[in-house]
Amino acid sequence: MTERKVWWKTALGLVFTALMLFPVYWMVNVSFTQTRDLRADPPHWFPWDPTFEGYEAVFAQQLPALGTSLLIGLGSVLLTVVIAAPAGYALALLHLRGGRTLNFLLLVAQMIPAVVMAMGFYAVYNNLGLLNTIPGLIVADSTIAVPFGVLLFTAFMSGIPRELLQAARVDGAGAWRTFWEIVMPMSRNSVLTVSLFAFLWAWSDFIFASTINRNGDLIPITLSIYNYIGNNTTQWNAIMATAVVASIPAAILLVIAQRYVAAGVTAGAIKD
């Protein structure tokens, strides 16, 4: 009886997953659909006669945008880790005075809507001449991840056994060497989790891209899709092909780093 119950649950689970992922399937399906079939009624549920027109268009037109997004993602990861990891060390292991206040400020920082930050950045960048530049966008995108990164590093580093640090001190290692040779190697998983989220957020960002980089020569893929929709309302197969390509990093990360994703989402919402 239990056996049958388990199968029944698997079947139901498959149905739920299929329903949930239907939009994703539809995106892939449309990306392979012939332009003349896009408005067919009833619509083609499966691309029996697939076309790669959409993908050809992506590779002809979107490579610079994909490259820009990659650059911005990597830049944002680097900036986030360089700022957040030492700060986490200071908060967790060096007992920074005022640490509570700083933690509190980081929580508040996460509540500020991106649209407000975008306006502030626009005004600041306008004076500094940083509008429509890649470094400007990297800095703006990193603001999504830095507070998260600091809090995650702090939480993880607090769990590093004190004995290790004391042993290092006895050996004459200063704060810097302890950080570089003990704390950082031990925090490898946290670095991965933080990097992963910093990359995904920068890669997916639309608000900052569409405000402080709207007239840039190099625009990221999200903005490129948006402009594409505005200009080609009929070429939905090409739009969806771009969307599929833009989703690839997420798909890769889900497959190779699912553990870190789940760790990042639940990091602290649950007390253990």
Binding site: Y89, P113, A250
Partner: protein, 327 residues
């Protein structure tokens, strides 16, 4: 979503404070090392402090500055905007868009949260009993959350397209009427809310699922020995024991949903008219959405949004402190 590890911070900090205890016995030496290590601590935190001032405090100050001046594009370039005090806020409150945007924000936010949470909880309970493929399927549920919002939003826009969308084609196949999801003022807000519910389910599922993992299994065993069925077990064990986690999930969802711009902007740009305009969309549209950027009212709306987000944020913190105190 960005705010999840929020909780990590407080937790980590309390643990960090506990960690000072072992060093306590050697008090005189500790004092000296503390002060020198305090310098090191400041050194390691310095990049973050500089970063927060330059890239958080300064833009936010500029934002307040924008909201109390009358910035036009010309004044923006020349930097001689006229100081108008709270006039922009008065204009925002007396604008005809204000009640609509406030109402839409409330409907969008609470509608999204109610369904995301209910569906997320139902799925979490469903996935709790492990069955063949359950881990894989649960991982697949993360996909919508990892996709760039612009990708999901444009997919939904095409699915809900009036003439060629799959949703209408299913409805008409069953003899229903074509619905102009995104272009009818009566359904535009509903459409973006549906898309946003879909986007939020994974987050709710993941957090509630790990909350369920922490409920000890023997509680359920005792209950089923007492003859309590699945329904009864849910309402008298799962739901009450999950309440703290639920509260945090809902508040994080609120803070996140208040800020949503991408999804609505890509699907409807807040229209038709103001019918799917939320406060965040209103602010975005004034500043960047038209050919005529109007930063000052946009900044005023944005600051209003911060205040609302902070109210829920502090509620979240209070809740967490209380939870920490009781455990």
């Amino acid at each position: 979503m960005t705010s999840t590890p929020a909780d990590v911070g407080t937790r980590g900090e309390s643990r960090g404070a506990a960690g000072t205890e072992p060093a306590a016995p050697s008090a005189p030496r500790r004092r000296r090392t503390l002060s020198s290590s305090q310098w090191a601590a400041v050194g390691f935190a310095a990049p973050l402090l500089v970063y927060l001032v330059l890239f958080y405090a300064y833009p936010l100050m500029r934002n307040i500055d924008l909201s109390v001046h009358d910035y036009t594009i010309r004044a923006f370039v020349q930097g001689n905007a006229e100081f108008v005090g709270l006039q922009n806020y008065v204009d925002v409150f007396s604008s005809s868009t204000f009640p609509t945007a406030l109402w839409n924000t409330a409907v969008f936010t609470f509608g999204s949260i109610a369904f995301q949470f209910t569906l997320g909880l139902a799925l979490a309970v469903f996935f709790k009993s492990s069955f063949r493929l359950s881990t894989t399927l649960r991982a697949m549920f993360l996909v919508p959350w990892l996709l760039p919002l612009i990708v999901s939003a444009s997919t939904w826009a095409w699915m809900l397209n009036s003439e060629n969308g799959i949703v209408n084609s299913v409805i008409t196949a069953f003899g229903g009427e074509q619905i102009n999801w995104l272009t009818d003022p009566d359904t535009a807000l509903l459409s973006v809310t549906i898309a946003n519910i879909w986007l939020g389910i994974p987050f709710n599922l993941v957090i509630l699922y790990s909350g369920l993992q922490n409920i000890p299994g023997d509680v359920y065993e005792a209950a089923s020995l007492d003859g309590a069925g699945a329904w009864r077990q849910f309402w008298s064990i799962t739901f009450p024991l999950l309440r703290p986690v639920s509260a945090i999930t809902i508040l994080l969802g609120l803070i996140y949903t208040l800020k949503v711009v991408d999804v609505i902007w890509v699907m409807t740009t807040g229209g038709p008219g103001d019918s799917s305009t939320t406060l965040a969309i209103w602010s975005y549209r004034e500043a960047f959405g038209t050919g005529q950027p109007d930063f000052s009212p946009a900044a005023a709306v944005g600051n209003l949004l911060i205040v609302i987000a902070l109210v829920f944020g502090f509620l979240h913190l209070r809740l967490q402190h209380r939870q920490e105190a009781t455990s």
